[in-house]
Assembly symmetry: C2
Homo-oligomer: 168 residues x 2
DNA sequence: CACAATACGTCAGCTTTGTTGACATTCCAA
DNA sequence: TTGGAATGTCAACAAAGCTGACGTATTGTG
């Protein structure tokens, strides 16, 4: 936090101008469109939506997760998630198995078909991400991640950090 | 995960790993929630939604813009925009005036009330942005913007660039 | 001038995805 | 055994996107 401090305060606080912040806000808005564009196209063909993508993504990410856990990650109501989950289960993309230790819980897994769709979606999304990363370079990417993390709600960041530790 | 690898390729391409890309994707998802959280809270009280926020933002940004222009910036249909615009005009937040050169066009401006809401919303959003920027520092912010710009669709980036030049 | 194209508004209907509220079931744990 | 937690389901509703069709100025063009 200790910025430039005394002498010339280095690169100064010019980057905190309302103008600069506004540009960041617009960049965030426009970039998010690109971020979702490719998966959206694929999903539209299969008459699914972003909600399905999110469910699939996080089930893939945390196989065996419970409905409740997924709920808090996605930040939606159980009714809303249930509708999406039901179609995914009916269509054979997601398997829901009764918990062993706690039979009230349902553990969620991707089926082969589900995993295939997950791959298709995340390949598309990663392709764009990879192109952006490559164009911007490693230093920019580090900054990108830093700012995004600082932008999250505390509770959300908690989920994010928990995810991060899972695989690496 | 391919950790160490060999000595060459400098900082290497490790930042293009699927793992790294996935983290970036999740960071984007979680951060966007934070990004919209504060304005969402304000909007909910006034029974408006994000669509209203977007319209207000870009009308403020480009006073006198036409409906068609707004349409292409927001990337929605005129029916969708019209619904939002109608309520904003009815509520006296936006003024629509017939074009001078071309009387088919409507030029959109914020009224005093509209400008007040715009300020309230963007203050809230900027506060979070500012905190994130300050925490991450100028170098990170530059990287943040670089990656976001690289992530946009070409057409979208065109809008973004046009905006950038407007005020600075 | 006549006609096509443009800009805008609107009606109707549909979809996705979110919300509340109410209620039943199952089952763990005190 | 009983209370509460986890889940599921029904109903109703809202925001915000979509398509398609139509009407009305207005403008540009052949």
């Amino acid at each position: 936090m200790p910025e430039g401090s005394s002498p010339p305060m280095g690169q100064s606080l010019l980057f905190l101008t309302d103008e600069q912040l506004r540009k960041g806000i617009e960049a965030m808005f426009f970039a998010y469109r690109g971020f979702t564009a490719d998966p959206d196209r694929i999903l539209a063909q299969k008459s699914y939506g972003r909600a399905h993508h999110r469910a699939i993504h996080f089930i893939h990410r945390s196989p065996g997760t419970t409905v409740n856990n997924l709920l808090s990650i996605l930040g939606v109501t159980k009714q809303s998630l249930n509708r999406v989950l039901r179609t995914l289960i009916e269509d054979g993309l997601v398997a829901s198995t009764v918990g062993i230790r706690d039979k009230r819980e349902r553990h969620l897994h991707l089926t082969q078909d589900g995993a295939a769709l997950e791959r298709e979606l995340s390949d598309a999304q990663r392709d764009r991400m990879r192109a952006a990363y490559r164009a911007a370079g490693p230093a920019a990417v580090a900054g990108f991640r830093q700012v995004l993390e600082a932008m999250m709600d505390d509770e959300t960041r908690h989920h994010y950090e928990a995810m991060k530790e899972k695989i690496e």
